[in-house]
């Protein structure tokens, strides 16, 4: 469902994403990990078609995001780390607007919005101006609106910012349910327990390069570290740092 072929992005002399090859099948929950500045957000923006790759290609549902961007975006939902909302609208108005942009019928749109408002606990704020909502509530609204048109691919960058434990649990459950129902989830995060809890596969990016990809167990085996994913992550990125420093 998500495939990249030698995807590369350079910022002047810096290689932000270096020859990335990924193949994520339908229904997989893929967690994308990496230290700060590893190139995770750049990769996500390349997958969402916001940035043009220096070389290589990215395919979403078989569509080349550069050549068929409109078809690819019909099946994607992209939730950035700093999402955009119209402050002067009310949550329900925003949901209806987004649904219409994706060509949804009004009756279906209202039904789906009600359902998502119920799941994300947004019923109480449906007629409040968005500008008055807390950061966590705004974030819940963004994720709810992203799920409205039944996307086949969800690309989500640092989804847990500003959530209380209950909201975090709701979001985790919803994303996992969608993944089980056949939706591919590409999640970028710094929260390793989140990846450990949800991901079918984990990819670790360091200095723009994919240094490891596999299930949690496969990564543990690769690193030689047991226990929490944190140990595995630190071991793998440390090895990479050494490899860079030694030559």
């Amino acid at each position: 469902m998500i495939r990249t072929e030698h995807l590369t992005k350079r910022y002047g002399g810096l290689v932000a994403v270096n020859d990335l090859n990924l193949d994520i099948p339908q229904g997989q929950f893929f967690a994308f990990l990496g230290p700060n500045g590893a190139g995770k957000t750049t990769t996500i923006k390349l997958l969402a078609g916001l940035l043009k790759p220096t070389s290589g290609r990215a395919f979403i549902g078989g569509y080349d995001i550069q050549l068929d961007p409109v078809d690819a975006r019909k099946i994607i939902s992209y939730v950035p780390d700093m999402p955009f909302l119209y402050d002067k609208l009310e949550p329900m108005e925003f949901m209806l607007f987004v649904g219409q942009l994706y060509g949804m019928e009004r009756a279906e749109l209202v039904r789906a919005s009600d359902e998502l408002f119920d799941v994300f606990g947004l019923d109480e704020v449906r007629t409040q101006p968005i500008e008055d909502l807390s950061l966590g509530t705004r974030q819940r609204l963004v994720i709810a609106s992203a799920l409205l048109h039944q996307p086949r691919v969800i690309i989500i960058d640092e989804p847990m910012v500003g959530f209380d434990p209950r909201s975090a649990r709701v979001v985790k459950n919803v994303l996992k349910e969608r993944s089980r129902a056949g939706v591919t989830v590409f999640l970028s995060t710094h929260i390793l327990p989140l990846a450990e809890e949800l991901a079918d596969q984990v990819g670790i990016l360091n200095r723009g390069k994919l240094i490891a990809v596999g299930t949690i167990d496969e990564l543990r085996e690769l690193s030689g570290e047991q226990g929490e994913l944190e140990n595995t992550f630190l071991a793998l990125t440390r090895e990479e740092e050494r490899a860079v420093e030694l030559p």
Partner: protein, 579 residues
């Protein structure tokens, strides 16, 4: 989704937002709404009256009105065209490349071309409405002077639509090319270079007529010179020529000629839009992508590809090092404020526009330069000068200094943790803004005094007045800014710390009004004793200097009160503020 459906949805949602903004006015303070209403109505009324009186005055000389009025229209539209082009470039860069909404739209299932088209329309509207609003009194006065029918105004409105589209398309093409091919930092310095060249050209070529030339005996020669100098606006390939010609023809009742130029304008507007949209197919998405990947532009020209790393940080340090005994916390705060200001393009660009306009005003003072054998007139012009400078300063302190405390917003705890807490922060902001604004206004005042060739004692009076006024106006702005902070508009939830939004609240309005009252009191208390002194001496001599000295002492005391009262209240408030 097709483009029409996309635009329809966006129009509907934007109309809803506009309606909500209008309804929100009910929740705003009555004071603020009243001040805005009075300013709008006052501007239209004053603008219309001045233009109409000018046109009536011209009508007193047979044949003069038509010649000057028509030439004035050509000139006006030529300048308006240039202003619209610059305005579209500045706003277009923000709406097309910096707006979060654009990024969001680019992830929707619509073509990037349609996103560009929508943003082009948005840019045109945002960049043009203020000019149309400002030119309305002129159009009304022109129509009345030419005794046109009511239908004329509808035709003028129709003319304005294609007229605003052409500069929008040209400005957007320029921005598309610059963003796609030019490094951001190179562009910033290129802009500075262009501004410097513009100012130099202004000084060299803008030579206003001297006062003596405008005397009645020289009227014909002056008029000939004026018409000759503005001949460039009569080039038939200029859009400003088409719009002015159409307007003049409709004013005269020549429908055919008016329609012809309207159609020329319309067809060119359509062509310009077509060219712009066609270019955007290749440049918009690529430009957007490059704009969000800093340092990526490689032109193959070493000089342009190399990032310009000017020692900006070191420059701020060097400025602060001029005061070696400054407290280390104050030093850190000053450097932080200088850097934040410099790196926020929207802040310093507006600052430059403010002082650019004031600079142009000072340059034009050459036209009233004289030997000032009559001290009464010298004083009169100097007080006008002081009024203009202090009004600009009040606008400046309200716009830039007042929001400073609110801008700290949720970061207040960081600066609040310095050894002397928020008091230190407040005092630092007061001194930094006072010293910098006093330095700038003092330079302008001295330059204008030289231009006006006024006596030394008057220069000293106005220079010292403008210094104490700078401190007082900054005291008011910093003090009121801390007493009525607007943290919600600077909250991180909005993600755009927007000083303009902070100023638009109650505190900003109150600050501006208080500044105006202070200016009126200062100028009034200096003007009245001097006027009385001149009046008793038959307007030939200023009489005894004691009246001037006394009035200056009063101004100094008033300024001291205007500085210390708001600052003391603010210091008291922040001392008890819970961060």
């Amino acid at each position: 989704m097709n483009a029409l459906k996309f635009f329809r949805l966006l129009i509907a949602i934007n109309l809803r937002i506009v309606r909500r903004n209008i309804l929100a006015l009910r929740e705003k303070s009555l004071l603020m709404v009243s001040v805005i209403a009075v300013f709008v109505i006052g501007y239209w009324f004053a603008g219309y009256t001045i233009f109409y009186m000018g046109f009536r005055h011209l009508a007193e000389v047979p044949g003069l009105q038509v010649i000057v009025l028509d030439r004035m229209l050509y000139l006006f539209f030529a300048f308006l065209f240039l202003m619209l082009m610059f305005s579209n470039m500045i706003i277009g860069y923000s709406t097309l490349f910096k707006s979060q909404e654009t990024q969001w739209m680019l992830t929707l299932p619509v073509r990037s071309l349609d996103v560009f088209r929508w943003k082009l329309m948005e840019t045109t509207l945002l960049a043009s409405w203020a000019f149309l609003f400002l030119s309305a009194p002129l159009m009304a006065a022109y129509g009345n002077a030419r005794h046109v029918s009511p239908g004329f105004y509808l035709k003028v409105f129709l003319l304005f639509v294609p007229f605003t589209v052409i500069p929008a398309a040209i400005g957007s093409i320029a921005i598309l090319i610059v963003t796609r091919y030019l490094h951001r930092r190179v562009f910033k310095w290129a802009l500075f270079g262009a501004s410097a060249v513009g100012i130099a050209a202004g000084i060299t070529f803008l030579k206003p007529m001297q006062a003596e030339q405008l005397e009645q005996a020289q009227m014909v020669a002056s008029l000939t010179q004026l018409l000759h100098n503005s001949n460039i606006t009569l080039q038939p390939m200029l859009p400003s020529y088409w719009v002015a010609s159409s307007m003049i023809a409709w004013g005269e009742g020549w429908s055919g000629k008016g329609l012809f130029y309207f159609l020329v304008l319309l067809s060119n507007a359509m062509m310009a839009t077509l060219v712009c949209v066609t270019i955007s197919r290749r440049l918009f998405y690529e430009g957007w992508s490059r704009n969000h990947t800093q340092g990526e532009f490689q032109l193959g020209v070493p000089l342009l590809d190399k990032p310009i790393n000017l020692p900006r940080a070191a420059l701020a340090d060097r400025i602060v090092n001029l005061w070696p005994r400054m407290h280390h916390a104050t030093r850190a705060l000053v450097i932080k404020d200088i850097r934040v200001f410099w790196r926020d393009t929207s802040q310093w660009s507006q600052f430059v526009i403010f002082f650019g306009l004031l600079g142009l005003y000072v340059l034009n003072l050459r036209s009233v330069a004289n030997d000032w054998s009559n001290e009464y007139w010298a004083s009169f012009v100097c007080f006008l000068n002081l009024g203009a400078s202090s009004m600009t300063l009040a606008t400046l302190t309200t716009r830039f200094v007042f929001p400073q405390f609110s801008l700290e917003g949720k970061r207040l705890w960081i600066v609040g943790m310095v050894p002397n807490g928020l008091k230190h922060v407040l005092l630092e902001k007061f001194w930094l803004s006072s010293v910098s604004s006093a330095a700038i206004t003092l330079c302008l005042m001295l330059t204008s005094s030289c231009m006006l060739r006024i006596p030394g004692w008057l220069t000293l009076l106005f220079a010292s007045t403008v210094i104490v006024m700078s401190f007082a106006l900054c005291g008011i702005a910093v003090g009121i800014g801390a007493l009525f902070p607007n943290f919600s508009s600077a909250s991180t939830a909005h993600r755009d710390d927007n000083p303009a939004r902070i100023v638009s609240g109650f505190g900003g309005t109150f600050c501006f009004l208080l500044s105006l009252v202070y200016i009126v009191l200062v100028i009034g208390s200096e003007v009245l004793p001097m006027y009385q002194s001149f009046a008793t001496n038959g307007f030939t001599d200023r009489g005894q200097p004691w009246a001037v000295v006394l009035s200056w002492i009063f101004v100094a005391l008033l300024s001291l009160a205007a500085t210390t009262i708001p600052m003391s209240l603010a210091l008291k408030k922040v001392d008890n503020l819970e961060i």
